[in-house]
Symmetry: C2
Subunit: 243 residues, 2 copies
DNA sequence: CGAAGGCTTGATATGACTCAAGGAAAGTGG
DNA sequence: CCACTTTCCTTGAGTCATATCAAGCCTTCG
């Protein structure tokens, strides 16, 4: 129905992001959410997928009695809502000013049919999600508060640098409570642990949403995994599987 | 190379499991592992996928210092090793006598190309895996020992009945230590909690690898989720997405 | 029958939680 | 620009759930 403008967009997409699922959202209008706004609720009918263009989201699940778990944080470039259930299993809430595009599942699927080159990317992204979830299970199952925090800060440091922050700056768009709910700790424990690491000269805590790393090696050591993982698990993605 | 016998197997497959990924393994020879044997190690080159035909496996990850996490249990019908990394991120170990078939990733992918009808099944299975991992994150993040155990027992009860056990019998092919490592508890806590629930007339503990449920409703209550989930989240899988 | 592995039970320790209060930022309205 | 309010964060004191340590029992199997 929009066939006449399609080629234009495809061309533009081909230039900007030749190999991302996000390209499939290029024709959708840009929407906006401010801090605290909820993009979709756990339990809502899952009709859309969302591509984040700017800003940060938290992905939450609630236990009936109010306990909350944050299962992940999302940024620019990420896609939310991929699922085969017909209701969302989690809520997505804006941490700050978020710009995103949406698309119906049906349209997404149709576009995907037209772009078989994107299929392995979807699969690989799902696999990454499984891998991340398993890492988090390890963290929650058997790491101490300090190990959890250090693991989190390292992951966040990695994200921050790849988003263009200075190499020793961790951007923390979320609050301490969000961090606590992500790490399975209380806000007090998070705060105390940060303070302790700062006291040991490993971190320096300037403004609220930023932490500077002074001794990355110490952080790695305390994360408790021989965190070389991150470097070793070369993302040979897409090498062997082409569906 | 085995082209001559293919039709035979395909026919058999069509009768037995017309719509499962496991069909793709039908031409592979049946292999066998006994309790404790390891099918593949975390860190090994990930060359194969495995379809379980009989028996049970545990899926483990180790922290460098020996702490162990079990991220899941697998049975008859399940497939292990789907991933886009070129090394396994976890080990798979036999809990009892296991019969399985293997297949190279490459062959699996090729067969999948020939069977586009199986693609959405793969996707849906990955989505289920993500969902299960998130449930586990909720469990590990904020449930008490009792809630964890009750959730686990209910899930296991569900599995057991769908495998043909009596409606009130939970089959537990794993040891208490496995359960502990799965739930992020110690073996002592698992044992104490089972004993307590038995003392309250909710369970009855006969032989080692079997628990009988006397009051399922009490179990649901103590699992701490209004566990209606299992029934509500209708698996409308495959309705809207057909890649 | 003896050994080994798996499970239970008890006593004690401890890491993280809870409760409580105060301080620092950020936003609001005059 | 400054008081005011609110939200977020930090710090301290005390408690509790679960871990740890230790011992004994029950099964299974050779």
């Amino acid at each position: 129905m929009l066939a006449n403008i399609r080629p234009l967009f495809q061309e533009a997409a081909a230039i900007r992001e030749p190999c991302t699922l996000a390209t499939l959202f290029d024709r959708s209008p840009l929407e906006h959410a401010t801090a605290g706004q909820i993009v979709f609720f756990e339990g809502d009918r899952a009709l859309h997928l969302f591509a984040i263009r700017e800003g940060n989201l938290r992905v939450c699940r609630q236990l009936h009695d109010g306990r909350r778990v944050i299962t992940g944080f999302l940024t620019k470039g990420d896609i939310v809502g991929v699922s085969f259930k017909n209701r969302y299993l989690y809520s997505a809430e804006a941490l700050d000013d978020v710009h995103f595009q949406r698309q119906t599942k049906v349209a997404f699927d149709q576009q995907l049919l037209a772009r078989p080159d994107l299929r392995p990317i979807l699969l690989s992204q799902l696999c990454d999600e499984v891998a991340a979830a398993q890492d988090q299970m390890v963290l929650l199952s058997c790491k101490s508060a300090e190990e959890r925090l250090c693991s989190f800060l390292l992951a966040q440091l990695h994200k921050s640098t790849s988003l263009g922050f200075a190499r020793d700056v961790i951007s923390l768009p979320m609050t301490r409570l969000d961090i606590a709910d992500y790490l399975g700790l209380t806000i007090e424990t998070v705060s105390r642990t940060v303070t302790k690491l700062a006291g040991q000269g490993i971190l320096s805590t300037g403004r609220r949403h930023e932490i500077r790393v002074l001794k990355k090696s110490a952080l790695v050591l305390r994360a408790g995994e021989g965190d070389a993982d991150v470097d070793n698990e070369l993302n040979d993605t897409l090498r062997c599987c082409r569906h």
